[in-house]
């Protein structure tokens, strides 16, 4: 058996998971200026999976794989691509756009890249932790008319096919699909590696191609309009009461539940 694969991994730059999100004064979006950004965690998992597939093939001497990472957005997304390269991806594609990109727009951009690159497998996160849409992978599968395996928690590669275990309500489901296909990653699929020093150094010399949305001829106009962004209601802090009487009094007069 011999497998020669090209794997395309979509990576998005999002506000870091640990950052406390603030809504802007106008209530139209969240504050992104001066806020730490990182690779979407599910895309880190996707990048890790692609690298593991590549390493698996090389180790078993059953084939080769090229891992190509792609990100759409402003110049800053190159940081995210460098991270993926430092993890072990082979080359990167930056599709530059300073516009708001909704899932359908990204799916269309990715479709254009797929047509150029002709990958055997496209890996995306099941969702990006900024807008939580959980749509791009499915839309891309629809646009390409390719099979999709979403919410993957385990992937086994066969010859021009893969077996994917996916997490569903109440259990796991195992499906098999021919390649090319779309894969979206779930949390338990793997633990992404750290970017090691030697790889960070190598990553600087790896190719990073730049394209624009216009060059790809894709219409990225938003189809959805965001009306309002609001913070969830604040949780009230707890209070210590001095005695049972105090408790009853507070329940009656402050909480008004008695």
């Amino acid at each position: 058996m011999s497998n020669n694969l090209r794997i395309l991994v979509a990576t998005k730059r999002v506000i870091d998971y640990a950052v406390k999100i603030r809504v802007n004064a106008a209530g139209t979006a969240v504050e992104t200026a001066n806020v730490k950004h990182s690779m979407n965690p599910f895309d880190e998992i996707g990048t890790e999976q692609a690298i593991q597939i590549k390493e698996g093939l090389e180790k078993a001497k059953t084939g080769k794989a090229e891992v190509v990472v792609v990100s759409c957005g402003p110049a800053k997304v190159q940081e995210t691509l460098r991270t993926a390269l430092a993890m072990g991806a082979d080359r990167a594609i930056h599709v530059e756009s300073n516009d708001e990109l909704q899932p359908l727009a990204v799916a269309k951009v990715l479709k254009a890249i797929v047509e150029k690159e002709k990958p055997d497998l496209v890996i995306l996160g099941k969702q990006a932790i900024d807008d939580d849409s959980n749509q791009t992978g499915q839309m891309l599968a629809g646009l390409l008319n390719w099979p999709q395996a979403t919410f993957a928690s385990k992937v086994e590669l066969g010859e021009k096919a893969m077996t994917v275990t996916r997490e569903v309500d109440g259990g796991v489901e195992t499906i098999k699909t021919a390649l090319p296909a779309i894969l979206t990653t779930d949390l338990r699929l793997n633990t992404p590696r750290y970017a090691s020093l030697p790889n960070i150094m190598k990553a600087k010399k790896k190719p990073l191609a730049k394209l624009t949305v216009a060059e790809l001829g894709v219409d990225v106009k938003p189809r959805l309009e965001i009306l309002k962004v609001a913070e969830p209601a604040k949780r009230q802090g707890g209070k210590m009461v001095e005695s049972v009487d105090d408790l009853v009094d507070k329940l009656k007069n402050e909480a008004k539940v008695l």
Binding site: A18, K36, I129, D130, L197, I200
Partner: protein, 547 residues
Amino acid sequence: MLPITRRLLANAPRRLQAVSLRPNLALTTVARASVTASITRSAFSTFSKASFAATLSKDKAFTADKYPHLQRNQEFKKLADDDLAFFKSILAPSALTQDEGDLEAFNNDWMQKYRGQSKLVLKPSTTEQVSQILKYCNDNKLAVVPQGGNTGLVGGAVPVFDEIIISTANMSSIRSFDNVSGALVCDAGCILEVLDNHLAERGYIMPLDLGAKGSCHIGGNVATNAGGLRLLRYGSLHGTVLGLEVVLPDGTILDNLSTLRKDNTGYDLKQLFIGSEGSLGIITGVSILAPKRSKAINVALLGVSSFEQVQNAFKRSRDELSEILSAFEFWDKASIDLVKQHLVAGANDPLESEHPFYILIETSGSNKDHDDEKLNNYLEGLLTDEVVQDGVVAQDTTQFNNLWAIREGIPEACSKTGAVYKYDLSMPVPVLYDMVEDMRTRLDENGVLGEGKPVKCVVGFGHIGDGNLHLNIMAEKYTDEVTGLIEPFVYEWTAKQHGSVSAEHGLGLMKTGALHYSKSPSMMKLMRNVKDMIDPKGIMNPYKFLP
């Protein structure tokens, strides 16, 4: 955006449980700070007094029985009903703890090494109450122990006999914060992590950070002059504390809660209380200068082949990272082995192979591109010149947390290994690791080190940047044989290097007798005079600190 994910995580079906399984992700601020918070959270903050008490064995020996050379000073009054009546007249009922089960948590120290026999904990909520309590105790010769978060590591915060415990637990208000100067004024009982989160919201940071941040109080930090992980960058509390409010044993309230950066009027008395370990009075309020929180933070973990190279990497970091360097920590292989054995933090080794030494470097600055470039050049240089063998750089906050979790997990992993003999020593960096090796050799030559022997292992880690070694020796249990082999050897060794037998944890009960290794007779005499002048009846934290 994010909060939605988080909310979904809580109650959504499994397929939407986004990142919930990743460790340490539930916290909120930009910097690693809150990040440590989550680490500590698992390790300490959830460590409630109640559950702590529950883990104690009823038949654990009392300090008084374990150390028979300690004798109760019979001049101190024993707690009587009239005393309780007085305390009840000034405090709310919930501010007195007398229940035996509840008292256990206050009578036992974090190390599970010391166990006092106090029958009363008082938790005043105002400075005025502290003043009334101390005046009464002083007039009646009732001995007291001030207690903050009870995370001290030298037995200073728990009674030796029946001293009354005065806890700052109910003094937890933040009094003011000046958004221009960064001066924070708060009650002594504020938990360090709570203060740090409060400042994070405002773009500032506490100038100190330590593994116990989820439990320790700022008053306790000041009383022990705690060092910790940010000392390299922001200096010691002797510089960052702007003012203190202290109640003296006779009830006098010393109001020196200045928020001024500069004040050259008279003796700087607050310095006397920083590091006084409850021996002079009770700190009730703290004014401290908070620096701006850095916007860009990087963390790298490096594998190194020798202690020589650890020092090289440190020297170069001061040249090449200079003003953005914010932490330079090291540990040995024995340390990480324990973390791997006992903690989730050790589940995934970031480096592919094992190394004799590890370095954790943190940089903090205001411009990510600038910092990244500096750090990358520095690291590339280290790798090219073979100063380091391997390394990783955290790419997101999750990875920051996980790298710090290894460092901060070492003390916890040690305490899970057995009875810990803990020494925190200051000495010139070049000889720092010789101490660890000499100790191993000594214990080995005496046939007590190794599998099935009384001592399981010896680990070394610490703050290289501050010349501070944490030497931890894990034994089956505390025995006279092992103690006799370690002490006074460790102190004599340190004294020979003109080091300090306590870099940060203080003297407490554990090192009272070792003070002379680091201070001259005339220094000790003056300290004694100061103590006698401020606390003539000796009610403040007796049997400890000064011999």
